[in-house]
Symmetry: D2
Subunit: 333 residues, 4 copies
């Protein structure tokens, strides 16, 4: 049994991660930290029967720990010191923030409007997308777990990019996310009365921080409009593409053959599109491909994931499985 620690157990991704880890056959939880809830137990904080004690960060003992998950809020100043201490102690790290996802310093500076706080770690980190960087992840000390929106854009677009089928380097992605993507911190935008029975766009255009990842992994230029759905889990993206003249429908379907052996990626049958219920509560990625006006090369792609599972905590477990030499799907079915 490997021993793993969790920093930040009282957010939605931390809680989801613990739910996955307690039934994982190959690991045990060494510790779980919380800030204001330290001293309480997980079942005091969430409606669960998991009786995990919560400790403060300075009570952590890393000896005998194989890997830590850092599920801390964006821009926590503690993150870099926690990661360095772990690596120095020979403990591997899966980080949930967007600190280490962008490998190119120029791209990072362009999107974040600042220099990277730890360029050596930025250089070392591997982008935690197992379907693409499986081998690097196995050997990585530091893995940057992917963002949630990017999965629904990268997975459907990458095969078309790989096969050279796209006519245009600018692509429109209209995405819709459940409310859990906004986290558990209190804010008016996640207050029930402001979210229930409504629907809105936010950060539309070229402003959302996840665009950097999407462009890094696809080489495309994205126009991205995220929306807030009145559901708890799930992200669905509707993507509008134009194919090069002469590309046949068979060429399009064939491009997706690169996912044939992927355990979690499902190409929908001809004529069908996925919906959030296909993936809610699971590791699955569902991709649908719909010709619109094939004679003009116009196609719509629809892809969805559970933002808390494949889009966050399940992805982290998949990365951990690779890093610690377990079956890649262990604990994830």
């Amino acid at each position: 049994m490997a021993r793993v620690g969790i920093y930040g157990a009282t957010g939605y991704t931390g809680f989801e991660l613990i739910k996955l880890l307690v039934r994982h056959p190959d690991v045990e939880i060494a510790f779980a930290t919380a800030r204001s809830a330290a001293g309480q137990r997980l079942c005091d904080i969430f409606p669960t029967f998991i009786d995990q004690p919560l400790v403060s960060g300075d009570q952590v003992d890393l000896s005998g720990v194989d890997l830590i998950f850092t599920c801390l809020p964006h821009n926590t100043p503690d993150l870099i010191p926690i990661v360095r201490s772990a690596l120095d102690a020979g403990v591997r790290v899966v980080d949930f923030s967007d600190t280490f996802r962008i490998s190119d310093p120029a791209r990072y500076a362009y999107w974040r409007k600042k220099e990277h706080p730890a360029p050596d770690l930025q250089l070392e980190a591997v982008y935690g997308l197992p379907e693409r960087y499986r081998e690097q992840i196995r050997n990585a000390r530091l893995v940057a777990n992917t963002g949630c929106y990017p999965l629904t854009v990268i997975f459907p677009l990458y095969p078309l990019v790989q096969a050279g089928l796209l006519a245009d380097a600018t692509v429109i992605a209209d995405s819709k996310s459940g409310v859990s993507g906004a986290g558990r911190s209190l804010a008016l935008k996640t207050h029930f009365g402001e979210t229930h029975e409504t629907f809105s766009a936010y950060n539309v255009g070229r402003t959302h921080r996840h665009i950097a990842e999407m462009e890094q992994e696809t080489g495309l230029h994205l126009i991205f409009a995220p929306h807030l759905l009145p559901v708890y889990r799930g992200i669905l993206s509707t993507i509008y593409v134009t194919l090069k003249p002469g590309v046949s429908h068979a060429d399009v379907r064939a491009a997706y053959a690169i996912y044939a052996n992927e355990p979690f990626i499902h190409l929908m049958p001809e004529g069908r599109l996925p919906e959030l219920r296909h993936v809610a509560g699971t590791m699955d990625v569902a991709i649908g491909v719909q010709p619109v006006e094939p004679e003009r090369g116009s196609y719509i792609l629809v892809a969805c994931v559970d933002n808390l599972v494949k889009g966050a905590s399940g992805q982290a477990v998949q990365n951990m499985n690779l890093m610690l030499g377990f079956e890649e799907t262990s604990g994830l079915r």
Copy 2:
């Protein structure tokens, strides 16, 4: 046109009140106050096109104002001074808090565990239940607008009490409220992820502050279990009563004849029970009466209101209509 002011425009009841007042034919809004949002406009705070400026409390000029509504958070220390200043200036007051609802000092002390902060005002205030205190409200300087839960308990029980039909002075009320009842302040219990797709009881037994009103108006002893429903608007209560031996079903129906001329109270036809959609967005009160085992005197009453309209802001307008001599239903259809 009468001129009215609103203290506390940025909570859900304040917003609902302004929506009612802007289409009321007999009044105009003199001012609306906000604390942190002073200087902005209502349409900056809520998804509305109502372009009402928001001022801070100390910018208010009461000259020429006929009536104010105080929609301030419970236990605001400002409340008593605001009410006194208004009354001193000859301005009448409809207060939304539970400060002035309990008229008996002993009952107040029992439930609030303290003395009343303004005993003279407590003595003067009229409980703002128009169906029962219509004449007193017309002449009142200070009206204590009713709580939301109490309406769904008082309206169905009062006729049976009045007619002397109840066998037992202890009554069970199982109530379910939409989330707007908890207000717009940020709290984990109203965070979308903690409220959506779940259901829970809270403050069950003899602890909820609204019990004092229910008992004051019915003379009964209440066992009260409120629950939080994953809807925005509406409260529905299911009430379990036992009737005296020999009371017939016709006696029960007859007791409700006291509501025959009430514009907003509806007794459901025989065999039908109301649901939240009967009343959402309206001033209506719907009451259903269901025999369970009539030979044992066992009956179930089901009653519902929109907690933001008849249960708060609409009730306040009905009270204002009486106080200012307008048609009682003006602006409320």
Copy 3:
């Protein structure tokens, strides 16, 4: 008082229409028809206290009736005879179906894959978009009430078309509709368990029947992806456009000045986008304009309406107001 009749009172649009008409100051309801519910009352069918009797179509007496609303299911064979009888009797008609919306026979045949069943009526009917055809509607005998999705596409795009600002005649509209748009007929896709807590695209591309209206009114070529939102009311569309080189942001804002005097159309302030709560339960149309990469001419438009009010029954009342010479906004505030 004008006298109006409703054919098809037991669908969602029929019910919404009756709720508007009972508080309309200038009309009274002469009759309301239902098929299987004939003989019952509206309050037996819906959770309402409106006590409107429902009659069967063959019990209708048109004498003294000024106008009828036909809210019948799509493709009802009864529609044409009902419309002809009314017109022959001098009764004017507002029809809710898509039968008379497309004026060009070729466009009709292309989208409907058949000839029009009543070409003379097709020729005579006026498209019921008051903001554009106000004068024709005043004098029309037969008005084809608009579809719901088209409003969220036509209103934001038309000013840009009018001003000649669009670089490309093909436009992408990604639309999201509440479930009431699918009507009250039983179907698995509107079963609570299949709709709640999920989200899906349907009829994407060039297949939805509403595209014909959108193209007729804008002159554009639409790629249209409708989605089903787990809310009851409202449609929001996110529209991706490219402007001609050299068009300034001021030019864009200026184009929308054509709506300056429209009572129901609201252009959001600079930097803000509308959400469904802006329009739910109202006649309002909210339009937001967001530059994405202005130097490339890339803009996103977001527009929303309540599909049952401005998108259906309220629009029908607005058309009726014009036809019968009432104030255009009568009964609609």
Copy 4:
């Protein structure tokens, strides 16, 4: 590996059962039947990637099958013949209907208003409540899986009955169920527009068919009011009891010690009540005990389960585990 068959795979309980069985380590699915969907696959009917073929009932081959689950609609005439054929072929049966739950012919006749259609099977069937009839279930040929509401009433009340603590044989249970309890058949009451954003009571009093089970298992007389919650999964019951004079709070807590070794039953800590999220998607039963006026013996019990898992399909798997000699919790964590 045992081989099991499912009759009725296209309802919500059938689908939930298959999701549990495909990850169960000890069984494989021999067949799954459907009526109108025979010839299709499960993934054609539900948003799932489970590629289970669906056959018609007359294509079933029982040879080599160990156990069948009958998840057929209430009152299907096919049920008795299917059960008899299976038992005759040596195949054991877990039935989801309420046909075999009531063992006493008089009680059955009182509640169902008819004689039992197969008295020999009624006599033989074991009520499928593992926490109480574990040994009988192990050896049963025919198990009557429990109803969903009864679990939330029987589990909290049984310990108090067992310990002789209740003062009154009549008990009030106010229950609230998610919509999935009403099944997947099309009906107006489960149409999204009729269920979403509302709340209602139905079948209140002494009419619901589940009361028979509750009374059989507790020996009490129930006043039962079920309500329909706008959530998909879960049932929560609020139960009002009066204890005998002199019963202490410690006595009450001690009564629940009979569940100490039960893998799925959780007594909430002192002062806390469960909510639906505690149990959604799991086999867990959560029970909270709240003194109201202990000096009068007044207590409120709150209990909840996931109606599709512990309340139906998971319970069936637990019963199967006992019948086939597997670990009782196999496939259920």
